[in-house]
């Protein structure tokens, strides 16, 4: 094998294998690139934009690596040879400068997009949002609809076109709520009440899961999100559920048994008796009991 064969191979291999992976993946369902809501769509655009911007550096690097290695191979005596050249101020300024320019552009994009996508900020919408409280347990998800007085286990029903404002906590190890089709994920932690606002723009069933290890049942902590066509459909679903008699209930006492570790993956729907159940779960682990928090926070936009 001639040395320049190796050069070409090293540069082509990542491209070929990458393309093969890409070709295979495009025959499969790729939720991050098939977003079903505005948050996910924004994030997909960000990925594509950043990738495009980085090609400004990546393509020259690959090209120069290949061309220089081939052109200045030691068997090519026709090429120029300057063994004592120490550098070139202008060239070096160029590649301090170009990345700085790219990063400057990207910084602006980052600043703006981070504020736009801040999970602590509810989505702007004329539609009244739906409130859902989420509790990550060992090892299932509890979704509480305080206004509808419903608690669901391992399945989340939402209306399409309506922003969903989540409050997320854990009653167990740190977990994370991730619905790739809808976008942003957030950690679920004891004593904390994380915020997240998502929206499904289309009807469908999307997979969500826990993305942070929480013990042996971790891999079973996935669930389906069912986006119903409209708010009316959702309301009638709620009404139908509430009209059905003899359902199981959930209040604080039952919760204490319910919250024990289990590998039970079944979907359940329960009547919520104790509307402040979520608050009680969070307060159980409250970090600070003096109500101390200074008011000078840069981070709050509300």
């Amino acid at each position: 094998m001639k040395s320049w064969h190796a050069v070409v191979a090293i540069i082509l291999l990542p491209i070929i294998i990458g393309l093969a992976v890409f070709a295979y993946a495009s025959t499969q369902h790729v939720p991050v690139f098939d977003p079903q809501g505005s948050v996910g769509a924004h994030e997909k655009d960000l990925i594509l934009f950043t990738l495009a911007l980085s090609t400004v550096v990546v393509i020259p690097v690959f090209l120069m690596l290949g061309i220089f290695a081939w052109r200045y191979r030691d068997t090519n005596h026709k090429a120029a040879y300057t063994p004592d050249a120490e550098g070139n101020r202008w060239l070096e300024l160029l590649w301090w400068g170009i990345p700085i320019a790219i990063i400057a552009v990207l910084s602006v994009v980052t600043w703006v997009s981070t504020h736009a996508l801040d999970p602590n900020k509810p989505l702007e919408s004329t539609v009244k949002p739906l409130n859902v409280q989420v509790v990550a347990l060992q090892w299932r998800w509890l979704f509480i609809y305080p206004e509808q007085r419903i608690a669901s286990v391992n399945e989340l029903v939402i209306p399409a076109g309506t922003p969903v404002n989540f409050r997320i906590t854990a009653d167990g190890p740190m977990s994370a709520l991730w619905i790739p089709s809808l976008g942003t994920q957030v950690y679920a932690m004891t004593g904390m009440s994380s915020k997240l606002s998502l929206i499904a723009d289309h009807t469908g069933t999307f997979r969500g899961s826990n993305s942070n290890i929480s013990g042996t049942g971790y891999s079973d902590m996935y669930f389906n999100v069912k986006a119903l066509p409209s708010r009316q459909d959702f309301d009638s679903w709620v009404k139908a559920f509430n009209d059905r008699p003899k359902h199981e209930h959930l209040d604080l006492d039952q919760y204490l048994t319910f919250a024990k570790p289990t590998h039970d993956k079944s979907v359940q729907y329960l009547h919520l008796h104790d509307v402040s159940l979520y608050d009680e779960i969070v307060s159980k682990y409250a970090h600070s009991d003096s109500g101390h928090h200074s008011s000078k926070h840069e981070g709050h936009e509300e």
Binding site: I17, P31, P83, I103, S113, T184, Q185, I213, T216
Partner: protein, 652 residues
């Protein structure tokens, strides 16, 4: 009497029993062979008690290679599970075992492979490159090494006694607290890292002082080889980052040992503070590993391009910039923990800024080839592969530095692919390049080139096949650390590809072993002189094999490429020899390591009397080690002259 230690601590499941049995048999064979050939005395005198950094460096690398094999065996299990058994209900690997194995894999690869290789390399190369005869504190260096070994041993004891942590390589609480992990696993994790971490910290101090105070006359800071510069920045990170690890592990340990509430879910504990602190160490740690690898490439590219390094000053500035910036980005490991947009955006932008000096380094390496004479021996191939893969890792890194993007790929296999891209493509490829490059300096013969290239291609192809699919899997919604999933998700094809990639990597490792064995066998044919590549820096000015004292004379240095200029000007080294002081061997390192091992083991199993005895022994040993009187011996000028004649006379 034995605390929590009972017969129940012995392994139960067949996979672990097999692993332990295999390991024990291997160990017994080695012990038997050592005894049969009466090599224990030799081992103790020539290696275990040696304070010669060249030997300590080799020992670091031997330990790291053994641990690499274990880490690879772990990952073979993980990928087999995910590719073959993940969709079936009957797997030989239980979720608990799976979680222990990936926690062990990460811990071993970072702490006992990457750190071992880096410290081994530093021990071998730094004193030679700065033209010194030794490190600043030879005994401390040995103690550091033995603490590293003690941590390694402790971590591997968990295979046979008790269990290992199942909480991931960084053991986030509250999962790692007593409430959710009551066993000994997390304790093994804490104490093995605590012991090894203190060793790393002491090494950091040692090598900084060595570089600050023991450089050859004339070697100003801006004339140091760039590898030495990379070590300076890396060691500065060690001394400022590792204390955070020490404190954090201590606090988690106190939670578990004395029922404190730093990071527990209840009683006011704050698990987020642990995450914050562990990454304040963890992010610099990544650069601790990768900066020396940058240094290695900065040495190799000029030598194999037969040209000066392009933009030395830029390279140094870039290293310093990376060093400082690496302390300002740690939050990007937990963008999704709920901090406000200002905080997230700030740390995201700081993270991207690191891409600037890193990019500058890549361009400078590439332009070192420009108008050079590039020869493509294995070290150069590793460099080319490094640039190709590291660039991909860099792009995915910048992607995840944008909080909005991290929000949707965090903790997915995309993240796993990214950091393996940096650690394998950066650190490991750098280590392999260094291995091929410096091997002949220490042995007198080269590694077989053809087998090395076969191993290289296996590694490169295997790496790409193993990790590019993970990027796609991340986008498809696959989270990390998952031991089973539904077949309907369409993930299995890519998991199988990733598994095949691991097999190709294992083939690469196989060829590396064959290469080493074959090269040792054919060492006469592969024999080379002391300067086989046309080296530019001082290590190539020594004889091969290198004398215990490294350099017979300490001629002043005039230029950056100190040895290159000497060769070009046909300068003669001075032949006026003086007496040389060389440190005596010392068993304190091994003993202190053993005492630390005792403390760690006792604290894991709550054997209080042993903890007390070991602690007292440890303190007594440390005090007594400072009272040594027979610290060094003299090699007389006459002996030096004779040795030089013997070593130099052989030169081809």
């Amino acid at each position: 009497m034995f605390g929590r230690l009972t017969l129940d601590a012995l392994p139960h499941d067949p996979v672990t029993i097999g692993g332990v049995a295999g390991g024990t048999v291997g160990l017994l064979i080695i012990i038997a062979a050592m005894t049969y050939f009466k090599k224990w005395g030799w081992l103790w005198r020539e290696w275990l008690t040696s304070l010669d950094p060249k030997k300590i460096g080799v020992m670091y690398i031997v330990v790291a290679v053994i641990m690499l094999l274990r880490g690879l065996a772990d990952v073979a299990m993980l990928r087999a599970q995910q590719a073959i058994f993940a969709t079936s209900p009957n797997s030989p690997i239980s979720p608990d075992l799976f979680q222990q194995v990936f926690s062990a894999h990460g811990t071993i690869m970072i702490f006992f492979v990457a750190m071992g290789v880096i410290f081994g390399l530093i021990n071998l190369i730094v004193p030679l490159q700065i033209g010194a005869r030794d490190v600043a504190f030879p005994l401390l260096n040995s103690i550091s090494f033995w603490l590293f070994v003690a941590g390694m041993v402790l971590m591997n004891v968990s295979l046979g006694l008790g269990e290992f942590s199942a909480a991931g390589w960084l053991a986030y609480p509250p999962l790692s607290e007593l409430a959710y992990s009551p066993g000994t696993g997390v304790d093994y994790w804490i104490w093995s890292l605590q012991i090894a971490g203190v060793g790393s910290l002491l090494s950091g101090v040692n090598f900084l002082i060595t570089i600050f105070l023991m450089r050859r006359k004339g070697m100003t800071l801006m004339k140091m080889p760039i590898f030495v510069w990379s070590v300076v920045t890396s060691m500065v990170l060690v001394i400022f980052a590792f204390p955070i690890l020490t404190a954090t592990l201590a606090m988690l340990g106190l939670d578990r040992l004395l029922g404190m509430h730093f990071f527990t879910a209840d009683m006011g504990g704050n698990p987020m503070m642990y995450v914050n602190l562990i990454w304040a160490w963890g992010h610099p740690e990544v650069y601790i590993l990768v900066l020396p690898a940058f240094g290695v490439f900065s040495e190799i590219v000029p030598v194999f391009s037969r040209k000066k390094l392009f933009g030395y000053t830029s390279m140094v500035l870039a290293l310093i910039a990376i060093m400082i910036l690496s302390f300002t980005v740690w939050l990007h490991h937990f963008f999704t923990m709920g901090a406000g947009a200002n905080v997230n955006a700030f740390f995201g932008i700081m993270t991207m800024v690191i891409a600037v000096p890193t990019g500058v380094k890549v361009f400078n390496w590439i332009f070192t080839m420009f108008r050079g004479r590039v020869s493509f021996q294995t070290p150069m191939l590793w460099f080319m592969a490094f640039v190709a893969t590291f660039t991909i890792g860099g792009v995915t890194g910048v992607l995840m530095a944008v909080p909005g993007i991290d929000f949707v790929v965090h903790n997915s296999l995309f993240l796993v692919a990214h950091f393996h891209n940096m650690i394998i493509g950066g650190v490991l490829f750098g280590a392999f390049a260094a291995y091929a490059y410096w091997f002949p300096k220490f042995t007198g013969f080269r590694l077989h080139e053809g087998l090395g290239k076969v191993a290289f291609w296996c590694w490169l192809v295997g790496f790409l096949v193993a990790f590019l699919p993970l990027y796609a899997l991340g986008f498809m919604g696959a989270v990390r650390r998952m031991d089973h999933y539904d077949a309907s998700l369409g993930w299995q094809g890519l998991f199988i590809a990733a598994g095949v990639g691991v097999l190709i990597i294992l083939l690469g490792v196989f060829f590396q072993v064959v290469q080493l064995a074959y090269s040792v066998w054919k060492r006469k044919e592969l024999a080379v002189g002391p300067d086989p590549w046309g080296g530019r820096t001082l290590e190539w000015a020594t004889s091969t094999p290198i004398a215990e004292y490294n350099f017979a004379t300490l001629d002043a240095v005039h230029d950056r490429d100190a040895y290159w200029t000497v060769k070009k000007a046909h300068e003669k080294l001075s032949a006026q020899y003086y007496d040389i002081h060389v440190p005596n061997n010392s068993g304190y390192g091994a003993l202190i390591g053993a005492a630390a091992l005792g403390v760690g083991f006792a604290l894991i199993w709550h054997i209080w009397w042993l903890a007390g005895v070991s602690m007292i022994a440890l303190i007594a040993l440390v005090i007594s080690s400072t009272q040594r009187t027979d610290v060094e011996h003299v090699i007389t000028a006459r002996e030096v002259a004779l040795t030089e004649k013997r070593l130099r006379g052989k030169r081809a």
